[in-house]
């Protein structure tokens, strides 16, 4: 049984949270819902660990859902890259149940807690699904699953601030536009090639010569995913959504949602399309590169002036997305590795930061920097976590952020892109400013209300915060895992590894799968 289960892990990855979600609602009790969520998210985490272990050496797992052969059937295809992303998503997903209860207690009416867990699990399902699937349309479906549940999650912040409703609605409108663009692009691709399986698409696209429809499809997909990524200047939905959502949701979204969107973009850029496709190279160079750099600066400067800590971090995220996109535009293995590493590192760091901010908001009742003065003494552990995360955001050595920047700048130098290299460090310095504004307020200013007794954050929140912050340090001190995984992922994406020889076929029409080399298929 266990044997069989292990062969269905790719499917279980999405199925477990998908089944758990309605259960949460059915039972109604928030305690049971929490338990279910905990079990489901831990299970997905374990699964993703197992999956990553299987593919990190460069193998690929191809799982045919329902036994239908691709390209007709839906294929779940796991290689080093998406296994790594799965790990991020499920890892942070597994932390949220620890963090959430204390956090949402004050933010969401108790009656809605089970709905919260339901929506959360659905969101997790969607994000994992997007990552795990090898089918382009399936990507769209899961993307919408996650998006729709996200809108609900954001709206749950309404108890605390009614603007959450408006921002959720805005997010919905914009997200839908993005999704629509994406699906339009898919439609065009389907018209051209008649297939939706990514690997198949890639093969077919290679055969097409200079084709305007293909270009239009690419443009639609890029813009659609760009919106989901919050690529500057299509980021407008993000600050409000992050600012008004419940803290646990913000932490989860910030760490996972945009990362998965970036993953998807990379998939399309490199697996479906590739550098051989001239239009892509052009677009990256002429559209994405300038936008990425603008994001790095514009968003950072906006962050500097923010008074609301959550919005500050939200804008910082937009800037960080700029780094990730910048890595891609170097059109090199190091560049893509840098993007993947930063994707991971930033997820860990930003997740931890938002968790810390959530704890602060819980105790102070406000995310405004003004109100958080003196927090360094009143909530030392939480604030220390924030500072540590901030250092990682800046890219101080021994933090994960440093590793990202190291690879990113290396890639820039390798590509002889001097100006971007300088701009990367210049924008890091902007991060110094916005992080240090908070540090100064917290440590060097007298509390806004000295008589008020502020307790340290609840232990579970603190622990989950520190797990992420600790991870951001661990991966800064020993980056061998992330760099290894990221470069394996980059190899996979850029096709520098001949992966056809390593494919593990897992036809699901039989419960006992047999493994055959790809070539014999």
């Amino acid at each position: 049984m266990l044997e069989q289960l292990t062969h269905h892990l790719p499917a279980l990855q999405t199925v477990i949270p998908l089944i758990a979600a309605p259960l949460c609602m059915l039972f109604g009790s928030r305690h049971i819902a929490w338990t279910i969520t905990l079990i489901a998210s831990l299970a997905t985490f374990v699964i993703s660990c197992v999956l990553l272990a299987q593919v990190i050496d460069g193998s690929v797992i191809s799982y045919h859902l329902g036994g239908w052969e691709p390209p007709l059937g839906i294929e779940y295809r796991i290689d080093a890259f998406n296994a790594f992303v799965l790990l991020i998503v499920s890892g942070i997903g597994a932390l949220i149940p620890f963090y959430a209860p204390a956090s949402i207690k004050s933010e969401i009416p108790k009656s809605l807690h089970s709905y919260f867990y339901t929506a959360y699990l659905l969101c997790l399902t969607g994000l994992l699904g997007v990552t795990v699937t090898g089918d382009a349309f399936n990507v769209f479906v899961f993307l919408e699953v996650s998006s729709l549940s996200t809108y609900a999650l954001v709206a749950m912040g309404a108890k605390k601030d009614p603007r959450a409703l408006t921002s959720a609605f805005n997010y919905l409108v914009m997200g839908t536009i993005g999704a629509t663009f994406f699906v339009l692009g898919l439609g065009l691709l389907y018209i051209l090639t008649g297939t939706l399986n990514m690997v198949d698409l890639a093969d077919k696209i290679l055969l097409l010569e200079d084709n305007r429809t293909l270009n239009v499809a690419f443009a639609f997909i890029l813009v659609g995913l760009g919106l989901k990524i919050a690529m500057f200047p299509m980021h407008l939905w993000l600050p409000n959504a992050y600012a008004y959502a419940p803290s646990a949701v913000t932490a989860f979204l910030a760490a996972t949602a945009t990362k998965v969107a970036i993953y998807t973009l990379l998939r399309f850029l490199f697996t479906v399309f590739s550098f051989d496709y001239p239009f892509e190279v052009q677009t990256l160079e002429w559209v994405v590169l300038p936008l990425a750099i603008m994001a790095m600066f514009a968003a950072s400067i906006v962050a500097i002036f923010q008074t609301n800590l959550k919005r500050l971090l939200a804008y910082s995220s937009i800037a960080q997305v700029g780094y990730m996109l910048l890595g891609v535009t170097f059109l090199s293995k190091t560049g893509v590795t840098a993007t993947i590493i930063h994707l991971f590192n930033h997820a860990v760091t930003k997740g931890g930061l938002f968790m810390a901010v959530g704890a602060l908001v819980l105790r102070y009742g406000s995310p405004n920097i003004e109100d958080l003065r003196g927090a360094g003494r009143q909530m030392p552990w939480t604030m220390a976590a924030f500072v540590a995360g901030g250092l990682s955001l800046i890219g101080v050595p021994l933090t994960a952020g440093f590793i990202s920047k190291w690879y990113l700048i290396s890639a820039a130098f390798e590509a002889n892109h001097w100006v971007p290299a300088i701009l990367i460090v210049a924008s890091s310095l902007l991060a110094v400013i916005y992080v240090w504004r908070v540090v100064e307020a917290a440590y060097l200013q007298e509390p806004a209300n000295p008589t008020r007794q502020i307790k340290e954050a609840p232990p579970m929140m603190l622990i989950s915060t520190w797990v992420l912050i600790g991870a951001s340090f661990y991966f800064g001190i020993d980056a061998s895992f992330t760099t290894h995984a990221a470069s394996a992922g980059a190899d996979m994406l850029l096709g520098s590894v001949d992966n056809s020889a390593h494919i593990i076929l897992e036809p699901s029409h039989s419960l006992i799968p047999h493994v055959t080399p790809h070539g014999q298929e």
């Binding site: 299509m234 559209v287 906006v302 804008y315």
Partner: protein, 564 residues
Amino acid sequence: MFEFFPPAFCFLSAALLLPFIPQGILRGLFSLTVPVLAGWSIWTATQGASAQTDFMGYTLTLMRVDGLSTFFGLAFSLAAFVCLIYAWHIRDTVQQVSTLLYAGSAVGAVFAGDLITLFVYWEGTAIASVFLIWARRTQGAYFTGLRYLVVQIGSGVILLAGIVLHVNTTGSIAFDSMTLESAASWTILLAFGIKAAFPFVHNWLEDSYPAATITGTVILSAFTTKLAIYALARGFAGTEELLLIGAAMAVVPSLYAVFENDLRRTLAYALNAQLGFMVVGIGIGTELAVNGAAAHAFASIFYKGLLFMGVGAVLYRTGTSKVTELGGLAKSMPWTMAFTLVGAASISALPLFSGFTTKSLILSAAGNAQMLWVWMALLFASACAVYHSGIKIIYFTFFGEDRGLTPKQAPFNMKLAMGITAVICIAVGVLPDQFYGLLPYDVGYHAYSVSHVVTQLQLVVFVVLAFLLLKNTPLFPAPRATVSLDTDWLYRKVIPYLLGHIARFVEHIWIRWKHDANLIVSNAINASYRTHGPQGPVARTWPTGSMVLWVAALLGITLLLTYI
């Protein structure tokens, strides 16, 4: 390692011990034994002995005992001895320590066999001596001391630069005779020249010596410049350039010494002129001339010291050393007058006094070399010296207009010191052959001949006669309460004035620039706040429409690329 204990170490270690000995007789006796011990060790040192040590890859020669160094070493030890007696009454630890350090450094420098050791002691004299000026503890002395220190250390760093260049070109650190053919030796000559008060770099001397304490001036007058003379004699004997320099040095300060109002400054100018004689002697470079320079340095140490002591004693009792405030002290301070007269007679080179037997060596050397103009210049300077050091000091202090001053006699220790110094002056004048025996070279010179005695007496007497005749005529430069403008005018008036303007200008620019820069920065911050601040357009997040517009625009731009 050492064949014997370097005498400089006697002074230096005593200086370190001194603060721990109680003030008073004990400390006074202790410090007096130091020059005695040092002098004895120099006296008994075998010629050619040396003390060497390996350090930092160099072989440092801490001691080089030969005729020249022994002679100067003895002179300095003896000078230290009389200075210490003169300063017996001083109860200021700073002055006491710095006196010993200063004398020790000077003795050390004289015996230095290599340039690094020389440099070490060279700077030592600069640092130790400045405290004798500052010890006056007035604002004027403070600033004078700073000026002095900068010049002295300036000489030191120039020496250092010269040594570095020398080591770099020759690979040797030995301090021997040099020729002016490389940048290194020119630099070293400049360093020596500053301490020897060459023209245009001389003014530190006239500026600082009169600003020191009473005893400090006496001590200062003994060492620094004579050390420079030693160094020149060692390194640059026979360098022709020195002839002109020395002649100018002998003449020009004499002029200043005439109209200078402050007696100690007058003496400083006179000292400078005497140094000119020695520089000329070194420039001639024959054994006779170098002997003359050394002998004259010796004599100069003591007769100049004696004059400074006399004026110092007057200052000590009356509070002033200005011509315009002094006069008629012959009755109240007879001993001081008598001793000062000996000094005046010595510098005037009257027979039986020291100047007679030493100056003539240099003049004879110039004569031997048939250097008429140099000889004339020196003769002129000699005539001037008769007036400014001989007549002027004595006349205006002890005779002249009576200002109603009735001070007590000088303290006993001062009189004793003056007495010993006077004896030395006379001894050099009376026993020339014994004195010449101490000189570095054996040249068999005889000072006393009828011709020499008579001509010298003629010179002196006619100068006195001219003075007495002209004294009441309008030609006589009557003393006035003035300060003389010298090269220091440049760095005390002109340069500060210019610097002040430049500083104001720079400050103005700087403030403007800072203001502008601040403005630019704050404008930039404000502008980015307007655009990127919470209310700025970039940070605006609510309008869905604008976002859709962006999406459309981006799609459009991307698609446009198709046509490229």
